[in-house]
Amino acid sequence: MQRSFLLYFLITITGFIFIGRLFQLQVIEGENYDPIRNAAVKVEYNYPERGYIYDRNGKLLVANQLSYDVMVQPNQVKEIDTLEFCKLLKISKKDFKRRFKKAENYASYLPSVFLKQLAKEDFAYLQEKLHKYQGFYIQKRIIRDYPINAAANVLGYIGEVNEQKARNNNYYQQGELEGKDGVERQYEDVLRGKKGKRYLHRNRFNRVTGSYKNGAYDTLPENGKDLTLTLDIELQQYAQKLMKGKRGGIVAIEPSSGEILALVTAPSYDPNMLVGRKRSPNSYKLFKLDSIEKPTFDRGLLAAYPPGSPFKMMNALIGLQENVINTNTSFTCYGGFRYGNRSNEFMKCHCDIYGRPIRLKTAIARSCNSYFSNTYKRIVENNNKPSEGLDNWNKHISSFGLGNYLGYDLPAGVPGLIPDGKYYDSRLKYAWNGSSNISNAIGQGEILTTPIQLANFTAAIANRGFFYTPHIVKRIDDRSIDDPKYINPKKTTIDKPHFEPVIEAMHEVFKTGTGKWSQVKGIPICGKTGTAENFIRKEGKVIQLQDHSILVAFAPKDNPKIALAVFVENGGYGSTIAAPITSLIVEKYINGFISKANKYREQNMLNLSLQNIYDLQLTNPEEFASGTK
């Protein structure tokens, strides 16, 4: 072997390794070369105007306004008269130093926000004076403006993209705004439009030296699209007014389309609170401090509770469909229903019809627990195994959209819970039958539903067997929404004829039952009141508080225009608060005004406040402990 072999060999190998590495760098990686990663290219964004939001009648709900930030690029700042400058900006000298240091820490050669969102009147004044202070300048930004103080929970708000997202997402940059909640978040892609980009050449001192490739990569901004909501802002405002002083939620849906007419949560907040200079102290107040009232918690979408009596209609419908009862089936109630042999295995009933047979219509109108307990037992025990019976029961309920996310176009939601056979098999180790979970018969126990689910359930009854998935957006720009999810009806598993007797009975509720004090002349309302038990835990003891009241209703009986669910925290029996509120909303929506006869009722509801109950409950919950089930 030649002695020079080693060096020949090493030179060859090194040459090949280098060429291979260069192939990897230049050909393989070079292919996916992205000008943005190029440090010599600076991208300048051109922000489009965010889309406006209107209500169903064309009323402007969300618009844009200009806001002005004072920016600073620390390395350009020359000697300035700090004292005068501070006076100009209305900040203290200490504050000035702190802000300046922050900007310097970020990057002294990059602009950063020095003072956010000047008041409009300050802007004009500052604009004149600021040229004296080199390194400081004013930047225009587009922020939201809310002409009507309502529906904050629906509209949501916009805020700065969080750092994590800015890093992982290839659209947003640090400091940009995005929709954070409600429609703003759900329809972010539609509303935001598309920002334009300009690629500029720069050197390493960040000095722009010209445009990159003569603008070959540049794009123009596309304005955001306007949204028209299904919301009726007048109804929304009216409902919000009615809920003043109370906690709860109202969801109103147009049964013939699934459009959400009103979505109220109380208490709520003024959407303008999250705009402008006071934004950060306000958002702290809204999100952190107020853990009792929770103004940002959308009770209409998120408050999952046992629905109580309205659920009896569900069991009636299933009973009819499964043919375990018919309109003539009767059960006798002796002040309650005994589901076991032990003395405590007895469910009380307040129907006040002792020892006489009760038929379906009366049972719903008077809310007889025994009747539905019997029905429920029959449904569950209709099959050989209770789990099969319960699965069948679950299937029917699920077809109404209960027990799962409804699929509406708002970001907040919970699935609720409708138990099935498996649920009890694992909890009760297979040793169970219809009596073990008899509370399901009357909508208590494990079942959880949200107001919007109940409103949708009511709309399905109003439609006699089908519903449209509730949705909040009606039009995007001038095009009606065409998502098949929202324009195709969903059929329930209950046949149409079975709805009539149930609707009759619901009508009876407002004619002679619990809702009879809340009738509206000329508008036949069908509904059902209910209560949801609620407990808190204090010092290890579980305390039952005053019931939440729930009411579902639709009107008019034939050709229904509105279906709604009203939920009032600690509202007691539905007839005292929920029923009058319901009737007022129905009247307002259908007639457009409140008749003289009902003005008294309206005044009553507007003035009613449950605040003292809420306060007492907080300090001394034992007083409310009712103890009974």
Partner: protein
């Protein structure tokens, strides 16, 4: 035996000269690209580096003629004198040198600065060639090995003390020369093993490496004992213990030196290279920028003077140590691979010519030239394309700098001179 002609260009290997001209010329274009600013296309602007480099290149012509003017016997005869002068120059740096970037590597003559270490390479090569071409010289003897080592490492030591460890590293390339002349490969094997263990220890930690080395050695030993039986154990037990001890000392020593002797900026360089640290802003900035700059060139590059990263001055030291990234951006994969192929051909040509020398002095010198150039090219390009840690040494013929250009020119043309004469030798 033919008579030597009077023409100084007689017998000159024009292929090498061609390579030289191409590399230097292309190098200048890239220095121009790296330095030039918009609105300023004055090539003969001597206040700019590309203008200065043009002067250096121009001055190479009389330099080359001067080198070729002397008879090759002159170099052989006075090799030791050159070597001694170069060592004295290095020693003189300590009292008289000018400090640039923390290293006293420069003589300042007012109108220009010279970096002696660039010239010492050629002188050391002459010195080692002189030593080993002696007919009495036998590299098998340890005494002679030590002599060679002293000649090589004396300048290396002086340069390290400047301190300029990068330039000193080049003297490792003389191992190829020694190996060519009969030094056993074991030195290189041991060296490579030590360096590998060093890197692995830094990467994985002492305990893991020590454990896995022990396991590997134990398996080999068990195999040997199984084959050789007790005899093996009887004769070698002290060697075995010694081996285990040395490995332990080496790994712990590595960890100690790495953590306590190395400065943080040394550690950072290693860690960025080994991928233990991602740092695109500070230490890794150079490598990241140069790799990205090269990447952005793609197949055919962006074109001469069209590299926006080069023009935007994003790569530091782009006209000197990182000149290769300019080639990468503006000339693309085609340009970079051609440069590498050119260097390979140049090296092959030098080795090939060296091997044809019947005179031992010429052969050893030629081999030294090839080794030094190879080492420079490999370390520099390896660093720029992110395969080796950051070591600040120039790319021969390309990087800006008169000393380095002259140093390499002298190195190469003394060989061309020697080579031109070989045919007239006996």
């Amino acid at each position: 035996m033919r008579q030597e002609r009077n023409n100084i260009f007689a017998g000159v290997d024009w292929i090498l000269v061609f390579f030289y001209i191409v590399l230097v010329g292309f190098g200048w274009l890239n220095i121009y690209a790296a330095i030039v600013e918009e609105n300023n296309f004055e090539i003969l602007d001597f206040s700019k580096r590309y203008g200065k480099q043009l002067i250096w290149i121009g001055l190479c012509i009389p330099l080359i003629i001067l080198i070729l003017f002397f008879n090759s016997k002159f170099y052989e005869k006075y090799a030791s004198i050159f070597y001694v002068i170069s060592i004295i120059a290095l020693v003189f740096l300590f009292p008289f040198g000018k400090e640039i970037n923390g290293a006293k590597s420069w003589f300042n003559f007012g109108f220009m600065s010279l970096q002696p270490s660039e010239f010492v390479k050629a002188c050391t090569t002459l010195g080692i060639a002189k030593l080993m071409s002696d007919r009495q010289y036998n590299l098998k003897l340890v005494k002679n090995q030590i002599k060679a080592f002293i000649i090589i490492f004396l300048p290396a030591l002086l340069i390290t003390l400047q301190p300029d460890a990068g330039s000193a590293l080049i003297y490792l390339s003389f191992f190829f020369v020694l190996n060519r002349e009969g030094l056993t490969l074991n030195y290189i094997i041991i060296g490579v093993t030590c360096i590998s263990i060093f890197f692995l220890t830094v990467l994985f930690g002492v305990s893991k490496i020590l454990l896995s080395l022990y396991v590997i050695i134990s398996i080999i030993l068990i195999y040997l004992i199984y084959k050789g039986g007790k005899r093996f154990l009887r004769f070698n037990w002290y060697k075995i213990i010694g081996l285990y001890t040395i490995i332990a000392l080496f790994t712990f020593g590595t960890a100690y030196i790495y953590n306590n002797v190395f400065k943080q900026h040394h550690r950072d360089r290693f860690e960025v290279l080994l991928g233990l640290k991602v740092d695109n802003k500070n230490i890794g900035y150079n490598s990241y920028q140069s790799e990205f700059t090269i990447s952005s060139g793609s197949y055919f590059g962006k074109g001469f003077l069209k590299g926006d990263l080069t023009q935007g001055d994003f790569v530091p030291e782009q006209d000197t140590d990182y000149i290769f990234s300019t080639i990468g951006e503006e000339w693309g994969f085609v340009g970079t691979s051609l440069v590498i192929i050119f260097f390979m051909l140049l090296l092959f040509r030098i080795i090939y010519l060296a091997e044809t020398h019947t005179n031992k002095f010429g052969r050893i010198y030629g081999y030294g030239v090839a080794s030094i150039l190879f080492f420079h090219v490999a370390v520099n390009i390896g660093m720029v394309i992110g395969l080796l840690p950051t070591v600040g040494i120039p790319l021969p013929f390309f990087s800006y700098g008169g000393s380095s250009l002259w140093g390499f020119t002298i190195l190469l043309f003394i060989f061309i001179r020697l080579d031109a004469h070989k045919n007239y030798d006996f």
